[in-house]
C-alpha cells in the first residue's frame, strides 16, 4: 500500500507523542550501529555503551537537580509509574496499606491503584476543582496513620493544569510519607527540581519531549527503598533488571537536555502560539477553554466545544491535515468521556466535545493559522448535520 504523504501535515498532538529531535537521533545512531556492546560486559568494547549510559544518567540528573545514582532508566512512563507505586506499596506493606492519589491521574497510575485495591490496599482519590487543581486540603485530610504513599501528577495530560507539587512534597516529607509524582507531561516542558519539590520518586517518559518511545526514567531518592518490578540480571544497581536500551537511554537524555536548554525560549514561543489559538478558537460559539487559565503547560491548549462530538471533529481535522485529540468517549472505546473532564465537573454532553491541541518545538505560526482556518469549518459542518444544534431549524 502507498504511504500517505504527511509533509504538509500539521501535527498538533504533542501530548500524545512527539517527533524525535534531530539531536536525539544523532546521539542515538552510534549506539544502533557501531557501539552495540552489552553495557554489563567486561571488555573495552562495552565501555562505550556503559559510558554512554553513565553520561546520560548524569545529564538527566543535572536537569532534575538529582544525583546520578538516583536515576533509574525504565521502558517508559507506564513502567516508571507502576514501579513507583507498586514498589513503594509493597516495600512498605508492613507499615501500612493506605495510598493517596487524585482523580485525574493517568491510567498508568489509576489502574495500578485499582490493582492494588484488589490486592488488599486501600486508596483515597482526592478530588480536583473545576480547573483541574487538586484539593490540597482534602489531600492533607486524607492522611491516615497507615498512609505510606502520596502520588500526584505534576501536570495533567488532558487539560495541562500544573499541580502544587512543592507544597504537597513539603507536606508529605513532614509526615514521613513517600511522595511520587508523574512528571511525564511536565519533564522537558516546565522546570523540575526534585530537591526543592521534596519529591521521593518521579516518572518521566522519553517520547513526550522529542525523545524516543519505549524509554523512561524513575527518579528514586537516595535512601528510599522500593521492591523492584523487574527481577533479573541486576542492572541499574539491581533496581531495574534487563539489558539496557542503550540507544533509547542516550536519546532520552539528549532530548531532555536539549528541551531544558531551550525551555525558556520555547515556553515564550509556545505561549504566544497558544494565545493566538485561544483568540481564534474562543470565537467559535459555545467553545471554552478547560484547565487552569494560567497555571498550565505552555504548549497544551484544551477546550470543550458544545454540540460537537470529539471523534468526528478529530477525524475531520485529520482529513484536512491536522492531528489533534479528544477525550470523547468514542475515542477511547469506553462509554464515558475522559475521567479527567468528569472529575472537573464538566457534564458528559459537554465533555464529548473536548479538543486538545498540544504544540511542540516543531509547530509554527502557519500551523496555528491552518488550525484556525479549518477548525471553525469542521465545527460548522458537524453542527449543520446535528439534530440538537440550536442553530438548526
Amino acid at each position: 500500500m502507498e504511504k500517505k504523504d504527511f509533509s504538509a501535515y500539521v501535527y498538533a498532538d504533542n501530548a500524545a507523542t512527539t517527533r524525535l529531535s534531530e539531536t536525539a537521533l544523532e546521539a542515538m545512531l552510534p549506539y544502533l550501529t557501531t557501539y552495540y556492546g552489552n553495557p554489563s560486559s567486561l571488555y573495552s568494547f562495552s565501555h562505550e555503551s556503559r559510558k554512554a549510559i553513565s553520561n546520560a544518567r548524569a545529564d538527566v540528573a543535572a536537569v532534575l537537580n538529582a544525583d546520578p545514582a538516583e536515576i533509574i532508566f525504565t521502558s517508559g512512563g507506564t513502567e516508571s509509574d507502576n514501579m513507583a507505586v507498586v514498589g513503594a506499596a509493597k516495600a512498605n506493606a508492613a507499615k501500612g496499606k493506605h495510598l493517596i492519589t487524585t482523580t485525574i491521574e493517568h491510567h498508568a497510575l489509576l489502574h495500578t491503584m485499582k490493582q492494588l485495591e484488589k490486592e488488599g490496599y486501600s486508596v483515597t482519590y482526592v478530588p480536583v476543582d473545576g480547573e483541574g487543581t487538586v484539593d490540597v486540603e482534602a489531600l492533607k485530610a486524607a492522611v491516615r496513620p497507615d498512609t505510606t504513599l502520596i502520588s500526584v501528577m505534576m501536570a495533567n495530560n488532558e487539560v495541562g493544569t500544573i499541580q502544587p507539587i512543592a507544597e504537597i512534597g513539603e507536606f508529605a516529607r513532614s509526615k514521613g510519607i513517600l511522595f511520587h509524582t508523574d512528571a511525564v507531561q511536565a519533564a522537558g516542558h516546565i522546570p523540575i527540581d526534585v530537591k526543592a519539590m521534596n519529591v521521593d520518586m518521579l516518572s518521566i517518559s522519553g517520547h513526550k519531549f522529542h525523545g524516543p518511545k519505549g524509554v523512561g526514567v524513575l527518579y528514586l531518592r537516595k535512601g528510599v527503598r522500593i521492591t523492584p518490578l523487574l527481577q533479573g540480571g541486576g542492572q541499574e544497581r539491581g533496581r531495574r533488571s534487563g539489558t539496557e536500551n542503550v540507544a533509547g537511554i542516550v536519546g532520552l537524555a539528549a532530548a531532555l537536555k536539549e528541551a531544558s536548554a531551550e525551555m525558556e525560549k520555547e515556553t515564550a514561543r509556545l505561549k504566544s502560539l497558544v494565545k493566538r489559538l485561544d483568540e481564534g478558537i474562543l470565537q467559535i460559539p459555545y467553545a471554552r477553554k478547560t484547565g487552569h487559565p494560567t497555571n498550565r503547560l505552555p504548549g497544551l491548549a484544551s477546550y470543550v466545544i458544545e454540540y460537537i462530538e470529539g471523534e468526528s471533529m478529530v477525524l475531520h481535522l485529520d482529513m484536512r491535515g491536522i492531528a489533534a485529540s479528544t477525550g470523547s468517549a468514542c475515542s477511547t472505546g469506553s462509554l464515558d468521556p475522559s475521567h479527567v473532564l468528569m472529575a472537573m465537573g464538566i457534564p458528559h454532553e459537554v465533555a464529548h466535545g473536548s479538543l486538545r491541541i498540544s504544540l511542540g518545538k516543531y509547530n509554527t505560526d502557519a500551523d496555528i493559522e491552518k488550525i484556525l482556518t479549518e477548525l471553525p469549518e469542521v465545527v460548522a459542518l458537524l453542527r449543520r448535520m446535528s439534530p440538537v444544534w440550536p442553530g438548526n431549524k
Binding site: 468526528s312 468517549a329 475515542s331 472505546g333 462509554l335 446535528s386 439534530p387
Partner: protein, 149 residues
C-alpha cells in the same frame, strides 16, 4: 481503525438533512451517551420514497446512519422493518467491536421512525416494531479498548 467504506460514509454522508413534510420521524440516543440519531421518512403507498437523517456522534454513528438510510431508501415499509444492525455493518464492510452499538442505534433509529409512522396512522407500533430507542445502549459495556497516551 475504520474501513474505507465507513470513512467514505462519514466524510460524505448520504441523505443528510430534514424532510419538512415527513410522515415518520424517530430520534434515538442522547447527548450524555454522545450519540443522537434522528431519521425522517417520507412514505407513500407503504414505500419509503425519501429518507433523511441528522446525527450527532462519532464517525461510526454518522456512517451507520448514512448507510441505514441508503439501505431503506425506496424499500417497502415491510422490508425496512427487516433492517438489522448486522446488515448495516456488513454493508460498511466492518466496524470496530467498540463501535457496534452505533449500528444498533442506527437500526433503532429506523425502527423508531417507522413506529412513528404507524403511530400517526393510529396503529400501535409495539407489536410490529418492538422496542425502539429505549434499549439503553448507552449503558452496555463495550469492553476495554486501547486508550490514548
Amino acid at each position: 481503525m475504520y474501513s474505507e467504506k465507513v470513512m467514505d460514509h462519514f466524510m460524505h454522508p448520504r441523505n443528510v438533512g430534514v424532510i419538512e413534510d415527513a410522515n415518520g420521524v424517530g430520534q434515538v440516543g442522547n447527548m450524555k451517551c454522545g450519540d443522537i440519531m434522528k431519521i425522517y421518512l417520507k412514505i407513500e403507498n407503504d414505500v419509503i420514497v425519501d429518507v433523511k437523517f441528522q446525527t450527532f456522534g462519532c464517525a461510526a454513528a454518522v456512517a451507520t446512519s448514512s448507510m441505514a438510510t441508503e439501505l431503506i431508501k425506496g424499500k417497502s415499509v415491510q422490508d425496512a422493518l427487516k433492517l438489522t444492525n448486522t446488515a448495516v455493518v456488513e454493508a460498511l464492510d466492518e466496524l470496530p467491536p467498540v463501535k457496534m452499538h452505533c449500528s444498533v442505534l442506527a437500526e433503532e433509529a429506523v425502527k423508531s421512525a417507522l413506529a412513528d409512522y404507524y403511530r400517526r396512522q393510529g396503529i400501535d407500533p409495539v407489536p410490529i416494531v418492538g422496542c425502539a430507542g429505549d434499549c439503553d445502549v448507552c449503558h452496555t459495556d463495550h469492553g476495554h479498548g486501547e486508550e490514548n497516551e
